[in-house]
Symmetry: C2
C-alpha cells in the first residue's frame, strides 16, 4: 500500500472522553471513530488490524475442525423464550419489535439459535462431534459503555458451540478449543494466561478465561510462579493462613473505639496488626417454603480477616446462599445485632444469625471484632470460649499475593488481565431447555453435551495496545499490525535516488509477502516518524540522500532505542531478516 492511496488520519490529542490508553491511542492513530456511545466505525487503519485478528482466529478454528457459519444478528424472541433468557437477561439484551409487532433481539451471543439449528440438523450420533462457529457482529446494550472497544455496545465476537454425545467427548472438544486458543494468542504475539474460571450453576472444572496481561486490566488473575496454577480471582482457592487455632491468651475486653468503624482504623488506634482483626459482613436471603411462597428472611454474618476481602462468587456457592442473596438492610441489621454497621460482630447477637467464618478466621485466637455496640470493639475474642463455633467454615475470601498456592507448590502472585477469550463447558443446560436431542447408538434420544467458546475480536486490538505501547504510541506485535513495515523516504518529491531505492524495497517486500506501506506523502521526517510511531508499525526503514551517498539506509524496530544502518546492497534481504527475528 502507498500512503498517498491510503487513509492516514492521526490526531495530536485524544478526545476528552477517552479514559484509558488503548482508547486514546486507537482514536489518535485513526483506527476507530465514535458514532455513538459504545458504537464505532472501524476506519481503514483499524479494520486492517481486525481482519488480521479474524484471519488468525479463522485459520486456527478451521484447523481445529470447527465449521464456520453465520447466524443472524436479529433473532426472534421465541427461541430466547425457550431457554428463559428472554426474561432473565437484563437490559443488555436489546429487545425491539418489527413492523408486525413481533419481538426480536440483537444477538449478544447465539446459544439459542445454534441449539435450534442443532436440533433440526443433527439427528444421529454419527453426525457428532460438531463444532460450529461464527465471526459476527454482536450487541450488548451496556449501561455505561466505556474504554472504547474494551466495553463497547456493538462489537465483533467469534463464538463457537460444540455438540457432543457425552461428557467425555465434550471434554475432548473443550480441550481442542483450549489448544486452539493457545495457538491463536501465541500467533498474535500477546502475553497471556489461561486461567481457571468459575463455572457457576453448570458445575465442573471446565471453564477457562484467556487473559491478556496488562497493568490496566479490569480483572485480577492469580497464578503461582512455581507451578502452572492459574485462576481468576473469583475462583482461586484461599487456603487457611493458620494451620490450627492457638489457645486463648487474652481476656475478652469491650474496648472503646470511638469513631473507628473500619478494621484498619481500629488496628491503628490499638496499635496492633490488621491481621488480628475480623471484618463482619451481613447478608440476607429471602426464604421460600416448599410451595414457593415467601417464608421469612435469614440473616447471615460472614467473617473474613481484617486485611481480606469477601469473595461474593464463593459466598454464592454456599448451601443456603446459592439461590441468591443480598446485603442485609439497615433495619434487618439493627433487629439482629442491635447496632449499626461499623461495630458489628459475632458476639452478643439479639436474634439467630448464620455465622460463616473464613478458613483463616476460624483458626484465629485473641481476635478483635465489633462489639455490637456503637464505638466499641471486643479484643481478645476466642471461638468456643466467648462465642459458639461458627455454623460454617468455608473459603469465602479473595486470595492475596503471597498466599500459599492451592497446589502446594509455592506462593500465589496476582496480575491484572484483560479477558479476550473464554472456553466454557455448558453441559446440557441449553439442549435440555430446548429439547435438542440426537439418537444415540442405542436408539434413544439424548440431549447434546455442549460447550461454548468466545473470542472478543474487536477487544483484542485494545488489549494488545494496553499491553504494548509507550509514550509515542502503539507497538503492535507483527502478526496483527495494520502494516508490518513502513518505508519512510526522506525527500520523496525531490530525490530520484530516494524514490528508486524506496520503491525497489517496497516492491521486494511486497513480493516476499510482507504487508508494507510506502510513505509517499512527501512529508517531513518528523511528521512521518510521529505518525508511524503513533500507529505502531513494528518496523521502519528510513531512506534519505545523505545515507544513500554512503550506500546506507536506516532500520529501526518500534521498540529499538536507536536506528541501525543497513547497506543498500542486499537491502531487501537484510530487512526481511529483521522481520523474521520478531
Amino acid at each position: 500500500m502507498r500512503a498517498s492511496q491510503f487513509f492516514v488520519s492521526t490526531l495530536k490529542e485524544a478526545p476528552s472522553d477517552a479514559e484509558i490508553v488503548s482508547h486514546k491511542l486507537m482514536l489518535r492513530a485513526g483506527l476507530i471513530r465514535k458514532v455513538a456511545a459504545g458504537i464505532y466505525t472501524y476506519m481503514p487503519m483499524g479494520l486492517r488490524v481486525i481482519r488480521k485478528v479474524e484471519n488468525i482466529v479463522r485459520e486456527e478454528m478451521d484447523r481445529a475442525g470447527a465449521l464456520e457459519l453465520t447466524m443472524p444478528m436479529v433473532q426472534p424472541a421465541e427461541l430466547w423464550q425457550e431457554t428463559g433468557r428472554w426474561d432473565k437477561m437484563g437490559d443488555e439484551l436489546l429487545r425491539f419489535k418489527d413492523r408486525h409487532e413481533r419481538d426480536f433481539a440483537l444477538q449478544p451471543t447465539s446459544e439459542e439459535v445454534i441449539t435450534d439449528t442443532a436440533r433440526q440438523e443433527l439427528k444421529s450420533y454419527r453426525q457428532l462431534p460438531k463444532n460450529f462457529y461464527q465471526i459476527q457482529t454482536k450487541f450488548r446494550d451496556e449501561r455505561r459503555p466505556r474504554f472504547g472497544v474494551m466495553r463497547g455496545r456493538e462489537f465483533t465476537m467469534k463464538d463457537a458451540y460444540s455438540f457432543d454425545r457425552d461428557v467425555d467427548a465434550a471434554g475432548r472438544s473443550y480441550d481442542a478449543m483450549y489448544a486452539a486458543y493457545c495457538r491463536i494468542f501465541d500467533r498474535m504475539g500477546l502475553t497471556y494466561r489461561a486461567v481457571a474460571a468459575d463455572t457457576g450453576a453448570i458445575g465442573g472444572d471446565r471453564s477457562h478465561e484467556f487473559q491478556v496481561i496488562a497493568d490496566t486490566g479490569e480483572d485480577a488473575i492469580v497464578y503461582c510462579p512455581q507451578s502452572d496454577y492459574a485462576a481468576n480471582i473469583e475462583l482461586a482457592e484461599a487456603l487457611p493462613l493458620l494451620a490450627s487455632r492457638a489457645a486463648p491468651g487474652a481476656d475478652l475486653v469491650k474496648t472503646p473505639t470511638p469513631g473507628k468503624a473500619t478494621c484498619a482504623d481500629v488496628a491503628a488506634l490499638l496499635g496492633v496488626p490488621l491481621e488480628t482483626t475480623v471484618k463482619s459482613l451481613v447478608l440476607a436471603t429471602d426464604d421460600v417454603d416448599e410451595a414457593g411462597q415467601p417464608a421469612g428472611v435469614t440473616v447471615w454474618l460472614l467473617l473474613v480477616r481484617g486485611d481480606h476481602e469477601l469473595n461474593e462468587v464463593k459466598a454464592g456457592k454456599l448451601e443456603g446462599l446459592k439461590n441468591g442473596f443480598r446485603f442485609a438492610s439497615e433495619a434487618e441489621i439493627l433487629e439482629h445485632f442491635g447496632c449499626k454497621p461499623g461495630y458489628l460482630g459475632p458476639i452478643g447477637l439479639l436474634k439467630p444469625v448464620k455465622v460463616v467464618a473464613d478458613r483463616t478466621v476460624a483458626n484465629m485466637a485473641d481476635f478483635i471484632c465489633g462489639a455490637n455496640a456503637e464505638d466499641f470493639h471486643y479484643t481478645g475474642a476466642n471461638w468456643g470460649r466467648d462465642l459458639p463455633e461458627p455454623d460454617l467454615v468455608a473459603d469465602i475470601r479473595n486470595v492475596v499475593a503471597g498466599d500459599p498456592s492451592p497446589d502446594g507448590k509455592g506462593e500465589l502472585a496476582i496480575q491484572r488481565g484483560i479477558e479476550v477469550g473464554h472456553v466454557f463447558y455448558l453441559g446440557t443446560k441449553y439442549s435440555k431447555a430446548m429439547n435438542a436431542t440426537f439418537l444415540d447408538e442405542d436408539g434413544r434420544p439424548k440431549p447434546f453435551e455442549m460447550g461454548c467458546y468466545g473470542i472478543g475480536i474487536t477487544r483484542i486490538p485494545g488489549a494488545a495496545i494496553e499491553q504494548n505501547h509507550d509514550e509515542r504510541g502503539i507497538i503492535w506485535p507483527d502478526a496483527i499490525a495494520p502494516f508490518q513495515a513502513v518505508i519512510c523516504p526522506v525527500g520523496w518529491g525531490r530525490s530520484e535516488a530516494v524514490r528508486d531505492t524506496a520503491t525497489a524495497l517496497y516492491e521486494a517486500l511486497r513480493a516476499a509477502g510482507i504487508d508494507a506501506i510506502l510513505d509517499d506523502r512527501d512529508e517531513r521526517p518528523g511528521v512521518m516518524f510521529a505518525d508511524w510511531e503513533l500507529v505502531g508499525v513494528p518496523h521502519r526503514i528510513t531512506i534519505g540522500d545523505r545515507g544513500l551517498k554512503e550506500g546506507q539506509v536506516e532500520y529501526q524496530g518500534r521498540r529499538d532505542a536507536e536506528a541501525t544502518k543497513l547497506a543498500v546492497d542486499g537491502l531487501a534481504e537484510a530487512v526481511l531478516a529483521r522481520l523474521a527475528l520478531r
Copy 2:
C-alpha cells in the same frame, strides 16, 4: 476438505413456503436455514459461497482504490434526522430505543454515517478523491419478506461511497466503480447487463443497475441487440411509433360496447386491431398554494395506446406531477367524466382535466376511446376535430419488444433480470443536507460531490442459481462454487486402491490451489451424485474399482450430459486441465 469433516445436509423436499427455484435449492442443498421470516443462518456450505463472493468484491474494490472500513449496524437517529430520512423512510427502516430511551436504527445503507465521517476527516481537496466501502450486515424490515435471500430482511451488502471535488471528478469515480463492477460480475461467471436506470430527483445520467439475466427476474430490462443500448424498463425511452399524424378518415361514432370495459375487449368486439384503441388512466394531484396550504385537486387524464402500459416513473417526471400524484378516486372521476372507469375518454369532459397523450397516441388518427358513457366507446376519434390537442405530449409508456431503439440502431428486446448491483451518482444531496464540506484550492468550503455503489452480496448466490440450475439442482460458476471439484470414491470403505487414488488426487488438487472436497462418507454412488448435483459442484471425478482395473476414472462437468474417461496416469494434470477450461 473431507466430507466427513464437513457438514453436508441436503433435503429431498423444500419447505412449502419456498416459492422460487433459488430459494428451494438453497434450502435443499443446505446453504441456508430459516431462523425467522426473511432472516437466515448461512450454513457452512452457503457461507463458503458468500466468502468467495465477498473476496472477489473486496479484491476488485481494493484494485479500484477504494478503502475498506466498517460502519456500525446500529446507528443513532440524530444522523438520520439531519438528512430527513429518519422521518421520510417507511417501516423498512427498523427503529428502536436503547436502554436510555435514545433512538437508533439498524442500517439499511450508510450514507449518513459515512457523510458524517467525511465531514470530520476530509478537510482539504488534497485528501480527495476518496472512496470508502464496507461489506457489512444490513437490515430492511420488508413488509413481505420472500424469495429467500432475494428479498430477505437481514442481508449483507457491499456499500461504497465516493467523495470528490467536483462533478468531473465524481464522474471519474463513477466510471471506476462501473468498471470494477464489470470485473466483479465477469469474474463471478455470471451473465449480466449493466442497464441505465432512473436517477430520480438527483438528475443526470449516472445511474446503472447491474442485472443478472434470469427468466425469473423481478425486473424487466430493455436492450438493443444491434447496439450497446440497455436500460431498465422504468427509464427506457419509448419513441413515437407513428412518425406523423394521418388525416381523419372516419367519422366520430358513439358505438355501443356493452360490458366491454377494456381495450382488448372493445377491439375484439369491433374486430379491429388493439393498436387502434386508446387507454385512459386518471390521476390526481393535491395542489398547494404558495403558502403551502391545500389548494384543490387537479385531475389528469393520461392516454396510452391500448396495447401499451403506463410508466409511472416517467409520469412522475412531468411538470405538475413530479411532486407526487395518486390515482383519482371514483368520486373525482365521476365529477370530471360523468362516468365510471372502463368507458372513460378525452371527449366530452364535464370539468377541466389536464390531458397528457403518449407520443404514439398524439399521432394516432381514427382512434377508439371511451365515450364517458357506460357501455359506449367512440370510434373514429381524431385530435383537433373531435377534441382539442392534448395539453401535453410526452413519453409516458413502457417500451415493448420491437420498439425502435432510442439510439436509432435497431429494435428493442426485453429480458428479465435480478438486480445485484447499482452505481449511483448522488451529487451533493447528502453533503449539503449534512453540511459536509472540504476546503477547495481557492480556500472556500465546498460540499462533496458524492456517489454510492451497492452490491447485494447475499443476493448473488440466489441470482446465480436462478440463472444456473437444472432439475437436479444448482450449477455453480467455478468462481463462487462452495467447492470447485468433488472427488467421489465408490467403495471408500472396502477398496484400498480407491482410497489411495482418491486421496492422491485430492492432495494434488489441493496442492494446486483447487478448493476440492473428498467425499469420504462411504455413501453409495447414487447418494453421492444426488448430493453433489444438488449442491452444484461444477466438476466431479468418480473413482471406482471397476474403472481402476482399466486404469481409468470418470470426469463429469456439472453441465455435461455424460461422463468422460480419464487415465489414472497423469490424472491430476488431466483434471486441472478440465478446471482451467471453465
